[in-house]
Amino acid sequence: MMRGVVSFLLWAVRLSLLRGMHTVYLLHMVLSSWYTHAQLLLSCRVASLRRPPSHLGLVIGEGEVRDTHDVLQLAKLINWCIGMGMRRITVCDMNGELAATPRSVHNALRSLNVALLPLEAKLADLSSPDSPLAITIHGEGDVFVLRLITLQTGRDDIVCAARRLCAKVANGELPPNAIDEAVVEQQLLVNSGFPDPELVLQFCPRLLLGGLLPWHCSVTQYSHIGRLCNASQRKLYQALREFEGVVQRHGR
């Protein structure tokens, strides 16, 4: 009798210990998952990136922007980027549809109207064919500039710069030997006033870089994060964190 009671007690203790361990393990799993998620969300919200790229490029592949829903998704992405402290973004649309209808992006950005507060959005002068399409948003001491370009814009910019320089040479204003990298760069208009893009996020087939400003992307980091419709704040944050960890040697 006594033996039976003892064995029952032992069984009960073992069972309760196991149950307890299992509960603690489950709690740990749930809490750590919440903690990671919360940490990620919190870090996204407070823009805790140590080194957000001074100029971000977004490459939008063929078929990624088909309707207003996709434009809204792009606007959301831009909105997250603004929230994380990025102030200069160039969007390269391989189809050229966005650059042809910049107002659709502008309207989508206005409809979100969350991270942009208290910034006031307004379209830049789009009438001049020489200036690239740009949306400039001014705030209190803070300016956000979004440029919309196409696959061909970067190459065309180099060709136009070559034409201008050759005209100067033909007029005797510039000797041909004086043409070097710095002189060519001064003639490039599309990225004038911007630093070179530090990071390009590809929303296109992985192996295509998208032709975003070839001259300016000499040391730019590329990151492929899938399709635009599946873009999320978390994926964006991961790409930015990966970029933070990159050490460039610049040939040394």
């Binding site: 034409r163 870089l209 992307c217 590329y222 610049h250 040939g251």
Partner: protein, 397 residues
């Protein structure tokens, strides 16, 4: 700025300038390796590949050897990669050997690299080198004014010595950056404008591209750039071309690159080829047709190879593993279905692009001619043709 690729007047005897690669090809690959190459070849293949040979120093550190030894192993890998490309019918290979920014490295390392380069260039001139065996024409491009006189002479010697080879082209970018190359091209156009061979209005994208020294005459445009060592950036290599080609960033260090890894890269390229074709269709300059359809002979070869493998598999499974006939039948069925599926995928990938690209290229060529005539007139078109002809003679060394 100095001339990128210096023009040489070659007065070699005709007998010295014959193509040494006209005989049978011996790429020193094993039987199985050649079969894998045949399988991959059934899909659309790049005609021009650019390599950023990164990771020699890291490889040397991992192996616990001197950095110079890492670079030496890297050169060995280049020879090997050249063999693979010859086996796979890749017409042109461009490699990033030394950047202008690499001059910032320590004097010892730069000196060792220069000595290694001189030694290997001398080796390329030898009859037993892979360059001569495969009939490879070597071009060394970049701002060569920055390198020492003996090394420059050696570069000229190897270019002169391999000038008669026409099977493949190896372009070695030495003391090179892509921005420097574009600036040199603009300088060349500027000189032509000063000499009134061109007018500034004649300058178009295609003409600028022709002036780049990584676009030799008769060479197809770059289809694929491969960067080893996992870094996801171009580091100022082929920036102009990168917007209209595929770029693969692979994790392995350059000396670790194997044929099988390289074939995986090519399969990735083949998967993305429809996207690249679509991109090229929308581009203006007319190119040569980059992706021919898979050859019928290689498709038949692949089928025969698959059948032979199936027979071997069946015998092996029956004799060694004692499989039942039902099991063997199932195995053979699965194997042949897989081969059939792969063949179908390859034919699908290649056929539309062939039709589409041919048409688009024809269309874009017509549009280009119309646009060019409208913009510059027939006289302008004639000026451009004369300039391009002169440029081709210059580039031909």
């Amino acid at each position: 700025m100095a001339d990128g690729e210096e023009t040489l007047v070659v007065s070699a005897e005709p007998s010295e300038r014959t193509d040494r690669g006209q005989g049978t090809i011996d790429t020193q690959l094993g039987w199985l390796q050649r079969q894998f190459c045949r399988v991959v070849e059934t899909g659309p293949m790049p005609k021009h590949i650019g390599f950023i040979m990164d990771g020699n120093r890291r490889f040397a550190r991992e192996q616990g050897v001197e950095v110079a030894e890492g670079h030496r192993l890297g050169y060995g890998k280049l020879e090997e990669a050249l063999r693979w490309c010859c086996e796979l019918g890749v017409k042109a290979v461009t490699v990033y050997a030394f950047s202008i920014q690499n001059f910032q490295r320590s004097c010892e390392e730069v000196g060792a690299l220069m000595a290694l380069c001189e030694e290997k260039l001398r080796h390329m001139c030898g009859e037993d080198s892979v360059i001569q065996q495969q009939g490879v024409r070597v071009r060394v491009v970049g701002d060569l004014s920055l390198v020492s006189q003996p090394l420059r002479q050696q570069m000229h010697a190897v270019m002169r010595d391999t000038q008669g080879n026409s099977r493949h082209v190896l372009t070695i970018c030495f003391s090179y950056t892509s921005r420097n190359e574009i600036a040199a091209a603009v300088q060349k156009l500027g000189t032509a404008c000063l000499e009134q061979k061109l007018l500034p209005g004649d300058i178009r994208e295609e003409l600028l591209e022709r002036c780049l020294y990584t676009c030799p005459p008769g060479c197809p445009p770059v289809d694929l750039i491969v960067r080893t060592s996992g870094e996801k950036r171009l580091s100022d290599f082929l920036l102009w071309q990168s917007s209209k080609c595929c770029v693969v960033f692979t994790q392995v260090l350059w000396p670790e690159l194997s044929l099988y890894r390289f074939l995986c890269v090519l399969v990735q390229f083949q998967r993305h080829q429809p996207a690249l074709s679509s991109l090229l269709r929308r581009s203006t300059p007319p190119h040569e047709e980059p992706f021919p359809s898979p050859r019928a002979s290689t498709a038949v070869y692949l089928l025969l190879f698959a059948l032979l493998t199936a027979v071997f598999l069946a015998i092996g499974a029956r004799v060694h593993a004692g499989w039942s006939f039902e099991g063997i039948g199932f195995l053979l069925g699965a194997w042949l279905s897989l081969v059939g599926y792969l063949l179908l995928q390859h034919s699908r990938a290649a056929s539309p692009s062939l039709k589409g690209d041919g048409g688009a290229r024809e269309l874009s060529a017509t549009k280009y001619r119309q646009f060019h005539s409208a913009a510059t007139g027939d006289a302008g078109a004639q000026r451009v043709r004369d300039f391009v002809a002169e440029l081709n003679i210059d580039k031909r060394l």
